[in-house]
């Protein structure tokens, strides 16, 4: 217990306490003006760790969102293309039904139907080589510029699938990839040496032209099979569109949650800070008033 106080001690203590008070005021003021709960990392290392982690997670979540949008674009291009393919196949079927009518024995009419079939085949070829961002969308991961290459000698063509079976995937959630493409063989046939729909159409056009009614009759089943194949691919793609939509929602919700968490950790509660500031200000003023009272009078004032 100190029994005696030197004059300097009072002054030194008052000064030290006023300084400490000012440091606190300054800190609160910095919090309020910057909106952040800590000025430098060492003020709160635990919160700093959380904040850095949240920022990185927010960046990852944003990337998933971009991947989802990109995937949706891919799917919508293919969806449009496959819609047009389905319509073409229906038109081909109608032409075949017409040609199957045994009463049509007019070579000119048959020639017209054959020409129609061939033009439908050209449409399908164009659809097969649809480009999305400069890349054939049914080409898998090929470096070639097309999914199906065709060379014609007269009216018959040789078709080579230049696309590959590679899957184009997009990472949409941690560890979760979604495949966003369909390959040419899946849509147009030709896997393992089986005839592509283009070859089938060529054969059918020749059959119509030459009046081979058996072949034309069998062709209906062929076209049906081709159409069913396209429809099943459309179904699969449609399911993935739904999946991506749901994921998009989830992604947005998660993004909001992460931003909220980051703000909680890093941001300052303005109301609380204001109250602290008032308290601190009052304490500081009280300290100033007391210091003034204590430091001034000495015996000098009272001696004659």
């Amino acid at each position: 217990m100190i029994g005696r106080i030197a004059s300097r001690t009072t002054a030194m203590n008052s000064l030290a306490n006023l300084q400490a008070s000012q440091v606190r005021s300054d800190r609160i003021q910095q919090q309020m003006t910057s909106g952040k709960a800590y000025v430098k990392l060492s003020d709160d290392p635990v919160a700093a760790n959380d904040a850095l982690r949240f920022r990185s997670e927010i960046a990852v979540n944003e990337q998933y969102g971009r991947n989802i949008s990109d995937g949706q674009r891919w799917l919508s291009v293919q969806e449009g293309s496959l819609g047009s393919v389905t319509n073409s196949l229906h038109a081909a079927r109608d032409a075949l039904v017409q040609a199957n009518n045994a009463a049509v024995s007019n070579p000119a009419a048959r020639g017209a139907l054959a020409a129609q079939l061939r033009s439908i085949r050209d449409d399908l070829l164009a659809q097969a080589n649809t480009q999305h961002e400069g890349h054939p969308v049914f080409g898998g991961t090929t470096t070639a510029g097309t999914a199906v290459a065709a060379t014609f000698s007269g009216t018959t063509g040789t078709y080579t699938i230049t696309g590959d079976e590679g899957a184009v995937t997009r990472r949409v959630a941690p560890g979760h990839d979604v495949r966003v493409n369909a390959t040419a063989t899946e849509v147009f046939g030709g896997a393992g040496g089986a005839p592509t729909v283009f070859q089938q159409l060529d054969a059918l056009a020749d059959a119509v032209e030459s009046g081979d009614t058996t072949a034309v009759g069998a062709g209906l089943a062929t076209i049906d099979a081709a159409r069913d194949r396209v429809l099943s691919v459309r179904g699969a793609l449609g399911a993935r569109v739904n999946q991506l939509e749901a994921l998009e929602q989830a992604n947005a919700v998660r993004g909001d949650a992460l931003t909220g968490s980051l703000d909680e950790v890093e941001g300052v509660d303005i109301a609380k800070a204001m109250i602290e500031f008032r308290l601190q200000d009052t304490a500081y003023q009280a300290a100033l008033a007391t210091t003034a009272k204590v430091i001034q009078p000495t015996l000098l004032d009272f001696l004659r």
Binding site: Q63, R66, E266
Partner: protein
């Protein structure tokens, strides 16, 4: 008892009171002088002389005698105050080093290496989604640019740490020069105090000045003070004497060659007096020495390791199996012999045209995607860097808390020392009033005796007048 012994008595009283008032004046004049120790007049009764045949009976003493001017101090509280000031200075210097290290990292959440890493992952993920030739080229250019940013930022952090290390070396030189000049001052004061002691002159002011110098030495090196004959002192830093009586010794600092060599354990900064190694126990010189030899190199090594981990993780994703071209490589030409953080760069052979971002033979962009998805992997670069940053932040906080505590303790010690030796104006005022009264009373005694003698001299033997 002689006729005039009363006058002698009064004159002694007057002298004593006047001297006491001067001492009080000296105290009041120095009330704000730092490290001033208050002084007090010591007086004692004058014993009536005479023995044997000269012994007098029923005679009072011969007044007051001044035995000296005492310096009111307590060696224990002084030593305690010195030590606590030294500890406070040490922790403050250490905190300054840590704060600067933390600032060098440049991590305020919106910039710095963690932000650049996030950006890099984003750029590679976007490259992973690119399909057309135009998009791929743009994606590659962007990804390479971001990777270069990461390397540049790491290099910048390293450069800051290295410059801090050099600056600390300069500070050691300043402190060492300070120690040497203060030690010389102490030695000079020792000599003066010895002289004053032998000639009987009051050495109080010299003692105060020496105490201030010793306090400064303690603040720098945690010096230990041991008394010796004649009022002189020896000062020890660690186990080596920097002042021995009237002689002072020079402290020399030999610097480590470079931060890289210190990190490799090949060199270090040492202090010597003559040929003996000196290890300060406390004080800002110790803190700076520790920073140069341990703290900064360790942090730099941590940063290097983190950078190496980042490069390894990215290369493992970009170049699985290690057979092709790595993304991040390290130059062997190092300017300051620096570590990984100084040497990292994007391999210069990589251009947007030569970048291998897909499994060879395909355009699946799998490797670019792998680099982009690294941030969710267990060995992710962001996690490695984050733990380094938070580690430094936690150590800085611990250092701040220690410094705060130490400064509180030192304030208390100084207050304890001042309670013994500090000047209190009220006390001095009271003393002044007492001595003034004593003076007036002694003067009145003189007047009384003077009047009595006047009666004796001028009135005795005068009859009828």
């Amino acid at each position: 008892m002689s006729t005039f012994s009363g006058i002698n008595l009064s004159s002694r009283a007057l002298t004593a009171a006047q001297r006491a008032m001067e001492v009080t004046g000296q105290n009041i004049a120095n009330v704000n002088t730092e490290g001033y120790t208050r002084q007090r007049l010591e007086q004692t009764e004058s014993v009536a002389g005479g023995t044997g045949t000269y012994a007098r009976r029923n005679a009072p003493g011969e007044g007051v005698e001044i035995t000296g001017i005492a310096r009111v101090s307590d060696a224990l509280t002084e030593a305690a105050a010195r030590q606590d000031v030294a500890t406070a200075a040490e922790h403050q210097a250490a905190t300054a080093v840590w704060t600067r290290l933390e600032a060098n990292l440049g991590e305020d959440g919106t910039s710095g290496l963690s932000y650049q890493l996030n950006d890099m992952h984003k750029a590679f993920s976007d490259l992973g989604n690119a399909t057309s030739a135009e998009n791929v080229l743009a994606g590659r250019t962007h990804a390479l640019a971001r990777a270069t940013n990461v390397a540049e930022t790491a290099k910048q952090v390293d450069a800051q740490v290295q410059s801090q290390w050099s600056e600390l070396g300069g500070r050691i030189d300043l402190h060492t020069a300070d120690v040497n000049s203060t030690a010389e001052k102490v030695a000079g004061l020792n000599a003066a105090i010895l002289n004053a002691g032998t000639t009987g002159v009051s050495a109080n002011e010299l003692l105060d000045q020496r105490e201030r110098a010793l306090s400064h030495l303690a603040e720098l090196t945690g010096a230990r003070v041991v008394g010796r004959e004649g009022g002189m002192v020896d000062v020890y830093v660690g186990n080596a004497a920097v002042v021995a009586g009237r002689q002072s010794f020079t402290l020399t600092a030999t610097h480590g060659t470079s931060l890289a060599d210190v990190k490799a354990g090949k060199s270090g900064t040492t202090l010597t007096i003559g040929n003996a190694a000196v290890q300060p126990t406390s004080g800002s010189l110790k803190a700076t020495l520790d920073a140069v030899n341990t703290t900064v190199p360790d942090v730099s090594k941590g940063i290097d390791k983190s950078v190496r981990d980042i490069a390894a993780a990215v290369n493992a994703a970009y170049n699985p199996g290690g057979t092709g071209q790595d993304l991040f490589t390290f130059t062997t030409a190092s300017v300051n012999g620096g570590g990984a953080a100084e040497q990292i760069r994007v391999d210069p052979a990589l251009t947007p045209a030569s970048m291998q971002d897909s499994t060879p033979g395909t355009v699946d962009r799998a490797r670019a995607k792998a680099v982009g998805e690294l941030s969710t992997a267990p060995n992710s670069p962001t996690r490695s860097w984050r733990s380094t940053v938070v580690d430094i932040a936690a150590k800085t906080q611990a250092s701040e808390i220690r410094a705060d505590l130490a400064s509180q303790v030192s304030l208390k010690s100084i207050a304890a020392r001042d309670s013994v030796s500090g000047v209190n104006i009220d006390e001095e005022m009271t003393n002044l009033v007492s001595y003034q009264h004593a003076y007036s009373a002694a003067a009145r005694v003189l007047t009384t005796i003077d009047q009595a003698l006047d009666t004796l001299i001028n009135r005795t033997g005068l009859v009828g007048r």
